[in-house]
């Protein structure tokens, strides 16, 4: 309703999104088992988790493409739980970009605006306005020379930019991105990620991105949400989640190489591979012993896989630190303040 009756906005507004007790099952499969989540207005929120954790269902629920079995969804101040997708002031970039193959780039970008104009002749955008807005967005994303082309004549990176352009030209208060980088080759991925971060900063809109790639999540998000089997495992700033994971699951999921975990006196003790120190004599540290099994050269150092009485663990050695080869004995000291302790149920103990 807001999109159709409010006067045309010149800038994006950023909406807060709130999910309360949202559930969804598909047959016997529980996709969302009561999700409580607040996405701050203006944030770049990344929802991350292993496949099947419900992250895509959350995105589709926010978009209105899937309706929850229970719970409430609010965008801004409005309860939109039963509102149709077109009335939510939300746009989305799909994993396969979902460009309309028979329309030109310009036709794709202007599609939503042309519909608005037709639905509401009085306060909808005028033909002139549509043209300037499409032109502005095309300039923002470097698509000026491609406006006359069809999607089949574009490269993967260009298609993604057209999909982004189509999503932002309507100046939504909420922009959803479903695995936007997964279809791109690795070289393009870094620049596309930078592009998304730049767009978020320039538009100031709330942006929600779903990915299964924890590295992408850590490096992109201003607000990070980790999902596990249909519930939110933890949400907060990336730094907070990385430094103080609320559960063993979050601890093991974020970070590459992943956190080392050992059983010690009925508890689970974790430490990051970068936090272990060789040849440290500090008394205030946990000693771990082992033998080097294999080493991976990473250019600026090595990832060392070791086995010991406490089980296997990984160690990251930087350039200039001791160079290890398979068969070396190591004694690692982990400073106590860098240790993570988890109870038998996996929750963090402080």
């Amino acid at each position: 309703m807001t999109t159709l009756t409010s006067p045309p906005r010149t800038t994006h507004t950023a909406a807060q999104v709130e999910l309360a007790g949202v559930t969804r099952t598909f047959g016997a499969v529980v996709a969302l088992a009561g999700v409580d989540l607040t996405i701050p207005a203006g944030s770049l929120t990344v929802i991350v988790g292993p496949s099947g954790c419900g992250k895509s269902t959350i995105l589709r629920t926010i978009a209105g493409l899937d309706s929850p079995d229970g719970g409430v969804l609010r965008i801004g101040a409005d309860d939109v739980t039963s509102r149709s997708p077109g009335e939510r002031d939300v746009t989305m970039v799909f994993q396969d970009y979902a460009l309309f193959p028979h329309m030109t780039v310009e036709g794709n970008i202007s599609f939503g605006l042309r519909l608005q104009a037709r639905h509401d002749r009085r306060s909808g955008p005028k033909r002139e306005q549509i043209r300037t807005r499409v032109g502005d967005v095309a300039a923002l994303l470097g698509l000026e020379d491609l406006l006359g082309r069809r999607p089949a004549q574009l490269s993967g990176g260009q298609r993604q930019r057209v999909a982004l352009a189509r999503a932002i030209v309507r100046r939504p208060s909420l922009l959803l991105l479903d695995e936007p980088l997964s279809a791109l080759d690795p070289q393009l991925r870094a620049s596309a990620r930078a592009e998304i971060i730049r767009l978020h900063r320039e538009l100031g809109t709330t942006l929600v991105l779903v990915t299964h790639d924890q590295q992408e999540a850590l490096s992109t998000a201003t607000h990070l949400v980790v999902m596990e089997r249909g519930v939110v495992a933890q949400s907060g700033s990336p730094d907070e989640l990385y430094r103080r994971p609320a559960s063993e699951f979050v601890a093991a999921f974020l970070g590459s190489p992943p956190m080392n975990l050992h059983d010690r006196g009925g508890l689970r003790i974790g430490w990051r591979p970068t936090d272990g120190q060789l040849e440290s004599r500090s008394a205030d540290a946990l000693p771990i012993e082992g033998v080097v099994e294999s080493c991976e050269y990473t250019g600026d150092g090595q990832h060392v896989r070791c086995t010991g009485p406490d089980g296997g663990f990984m160690l990251v050695q930087r350039e200039g630190e001791r160079w290890l080869v398979p068969g070396d004995s190591v004694r690692v000291a982990v400073p106590t303040e860098r240790l993570h302790r988890f109870g038998p149920d996996g929750t963090r103990l402080s």
């Binding site: 493409l65 997708p85 028979h102 599609f111 939503g112 519909l115 639905h119």
Partner: protein, 279 residues
């Protein structure tokens, strides 16, 4: 080396075998048509001669057909019927397929089952009540009588188009809905353009099938001037016997439009059948 050369030789040999078989089969198919066309140029007393080409070729049969048989009216009538039925069935099939593709699973399977079952009912089984109904509506000898009852057999068109609707990426529909498109706009702007090749092929198929329809036009248009080509051809069977020369000349003439339609769209027809796995 010897392995390689035999392998190389067997592949074209197998292909040649296939081609010979296909050539033989197409000769079997083409022969009666060719014979009919050749016979249509024979004078009446030579119709049963075994010589393929007449000793005294004549176009008398054709001038006869064009002057004494209402070829123009019949072809026009048939074209109107075939176009109407094709257009009508396509409208029904597009709407039904779009609705079915977005229906809940249970409703969808029930409707699909009924649609498929309707294919198992021979049209002749329903022809008497259908005729009585049409006659009571005053549809004898009318276009409505020729077209509307034949729209009831849209099941095949629905099933074919449903397959094509479901082959479209679901994200396209989702994207259109998010852009604010209402259901009819999703259908018109997104689904329909994606169905264009299928619609063209199906249209041609229904057109040709309807063109060749015999039983229903025979019943609903008892007036020999207001009937279709196929029924009109039966008028060459007279009390003095069958006028084969005239019949074959008329058949040759009236199948020209359909041959033209088929050749204009043959690429699309084969494409559509290959992709939908029909026939």
């Amino acid at each position: 080396m010897s392995d390689l050369s035999t392998a190389r030789r067997t592949v074209p040999l197998a292909a040649a075998g296939w081609h010979l078989l296909l050539i033989a089969l197409s000769l079997v198919t083409v022969f009666p048509l060719l014979w009919a066309i050749l016979t249509s140029f024979k004078p009446a007393n030579e119709v049963f001669d075994l010589a393929p080409v007449s000793a005294h070729p004549t176009i008398a049969n054709y001038t006869d057909v064009l002057t004494r048989w209402p070829a123009g009216e019949l072809v026009g009538r048939t074209a109107v019927m075939a176009t109407g039925v094709a257009a009508g069935q396509l409208v029904i099939a597009v709407l039904a397929a779009f609705a079915l593709a977005h229906a809940r699973r249970r409703a969808r399977s029930v409707v699909l089952l009924l649609t498929t079952l309707s294919l198992a009912i021979p049209p002749q089984a329903l022809i008497v009540p259908q005729f009585l109904l049409a006659a009571r509506l005053g549809w004898l000898n009318t276009e409505a009588g020729l077209i509307v009852p034949q729209l009831g057999s849209s099941a095949l068109a629905v099933l074919v188009l449903l397959q094509h609707v479901e082959a479209l990426p679901p994200s396209l529909t989702a994207a259109a809905r998010l852009e604010g498109a209402r259901p009819h706009e999703v259908l018109w702007h997104v689904v329909l353009p994606g169905l264009r090749p299928a619609i063209a092929a199906l249209g041609v198929l229904v057109f040709i099938t309807t063109w060749n329809e015999y039983l229903w036009p025979l019943l609903i248009t008892p007036d020999s001037l207001h009937t279709t080509v196929q029924v009109g051809l039966a008028q060459f069977e007279t009390a003095e016997g069958i006028n084969y020369g005239g019949l074959l000349a008329a058949a040759t003439l009236t199948s020209l439009p359909i041959v033209v339609v088929y050749f204009a769209a043959s690429r699309r027809i084969t494409d559509a059948f290959l992709t939908s796995g029909l026939r």
